[in-house]
Amino acid sequence: MQFEDSPYRAQALDPLGQDDPLLAMASSPDFVSELLPLPLDVLYELGIAPALRLVAAGIELRDAELDAIVAACWRAGTPVSEKVQVLRGGQARAYVVAEEREDGSLLLAPEPVPNAQRTVPASDGRAVAAAVPDVAGILQVRDLTVAYGPKRAVDAVSLEIRRGEIFGLLGPNGAGKTSTLSAIEGLVRPRSGTIVLDGIDSRRHPNQARARMGVQLQATSFQSELKIGQIVRLYAGLYGVALSGQQIVDGLRVIGLEDEARKPFKQLSGGQQQRLALFIAVVHDPALLLLDEPTAGLDPQSRRQLWGRIEHIRQEGGSILLTTHSMEEAQAVCDRVAIIDNGTLLTTETPHDLIEKHKNDPRVREVARGDVTLEDVFIGLTGSEIRD
């Protein structure tokens, strides 16, 4: 890749192998517009070399593609500065080359947050996309304590969610799952602890942190007077995304709700409500998606469909933290799971490792019928008594 450092020289390139070039190189972002047939919508700006800029245009560009862009530049011999400044919607994010893989591809990860918590990754046979020790954690929770009066709902919980990971938080009723999520979402004020989301201290900068997270609450409720299309427009706007009427219809078509755009939320079925809630949660392409019992009350078909959507979000580079009571769901969907009980985190492993680690535990053996399952481990660790 050759580039002449002249303000009037610019080169369109196509490192993603797509027909329409999404990228252009120029000595200044101002000159890129000369190359691109579409209105310049600067989403990313990478410092490739001194005085040079790579500007990516197009609203569909995502983190995984961004990584591919820089990797392509690297392979082509373009001097990519080791630290790449990425501007997304005016927010600067520093990336570093975390790993050079055997196939020659590069794995980018956000620059590590100073003093960020380091947790040991689980050794799992399943591939965890874009998970890099030290630098790749999208969410670091450290010593989180949430109390309601004298009762500690969450007691010194620490956990880390890696990039591209689906992380399941399991626990019986009242174990502290929703309180943990609520603290991350900023709905409850923790008594102590730190929460760092995508490099942002969410307790100090709650609104900046919320802009990077998508949330589906346990009981989703939107204004009952508003129609579906109006609800989508409202929440997109709250995340700074201006959607046209056509874009809303197109989005609803993807989730099979285009015919419901003029219906109020309460007229949707449970599955449709969940699909809409998930659609709204990801309308701003969040770095982390928080799902509180997303499949509760859904029929098997709707549940499977939702799993597919969650997996699709992960494939597009999203990271997901979900709570669930369904061990089947945890085993099918999650890369790693943590079990919480009485506000305390008992263990964090991959589902496979969790079973392997505890299959000979007497408490687990006592409740197992045949081969030890994740549910046996869960009941063995948290007890058989019914929680309210």
Binding site: E185, L187, T220, L226
Partner: protein
């Protein structure tokens, strides 16, 4: 921030349009008061046409604020609408500002409608300046009743309890206004009624509709209104919980 506030205002405006029937119902009591006091004897009992119109506006604003705003906020809180809004990057003040802005619009519509209808029934002709003052006082009076509504949803979490208390409060303030101001309950209650939120607002409206007779009691009513706003809004903001649990 413009997109955030714009989105909230747009949504709240759409909700407001859905509730236009409630706005019309809120106008029924003021119109009833205006109609039943149209005779000179009845009007004199309340201190003149301006006081009657002031009373009618106060009832309209009380109805939309106490029954309308407080109940909507309490129900949305109970349903989790606020929690869903709070997990977005929208600052919490924008959520409430948008709602209050729409309520202020509703208050202005009621005040203008009552003045127009009242001046027809009671044969008075407010000037353009007086209409402007009515608008200003409507905002102030609306703030009085909204602050009471805010204090109510700040102190009471359950939507059912808010509904019950709002209805009782509404009835008490209406009766105090009607019976107290008319002197039917004696001079003590007449004095009490004059300094209730309804009484103070009513005096203020009467003052701006009859500017050449602006007395010190009108100024004191203005101060009383400001005092109510500070106290009730303070309570409502201090103890307001976004979650009903």
């Amino acid at each position: 921030m413009r997109l955030v506030l714009g989105s909230l205002l747009r949504a709240d405006f759409l909700v407001f349009l859905q509730h236009r029937r409630a706005l019309i119902i809120s106008l029924m009591l003021p119109v009833f008061v205006l109609a039943t006091t149209s005779g000179s004897k009845a009007t004199d009992k309340f201190g003149g046409a301006e006081f009657v119109i002031g009373l009618a506006i106060a009832y309209g604003l009380l109805s939309t604020s106490l029954i309308g705003y407080a109940l909507t906020v309490a129900r949305d809180r109970e349903k989790g609408v606020f929690q869903r809004l709070r997990v977005t990057p929208a600052p919490t003040w924008t959520i409430m500002t948008s709602r209050l802005a729409m309520q202020a619009v509703a208050n202005l519509i009621i005040a203008i409608a009552v003045v127009v209808i009242g001046s027809q029934i009671h044969h008075i002709s407010p000037s353009a300046g007086q209409y402007s003052l009515v608008l200003l006082v409507s905002i102030l009076s609306g703030a009085v009743f909204l602050s009471i509504a805010q204090a109510l949803v700040g102190l009471v979490r359950s939507a059912d309890s808010v509904q019950a208390i709002a209805r009782v409060l509404f009835a008490v303030l209406i009766l105090l206004g009607l019976l107290g101001q008319s002197g039917a309950l004696g001079s003590f209650w007449s004095s009490v009624a004059r300094w209730t939120p309804v009484g103070a607002v009513m005096t203020l409206f009467a003052g701006v509709l009859n500017l050449h007779a602006w007395y010190s009691r009108d100024t004191l009513s203005l101060l009383a209104c400001l005092g109510y706003i500070v106290v009730f809004a303070g309570i409502g903001i201090r103890w307001f919980q976004w979650d009903a649990r």
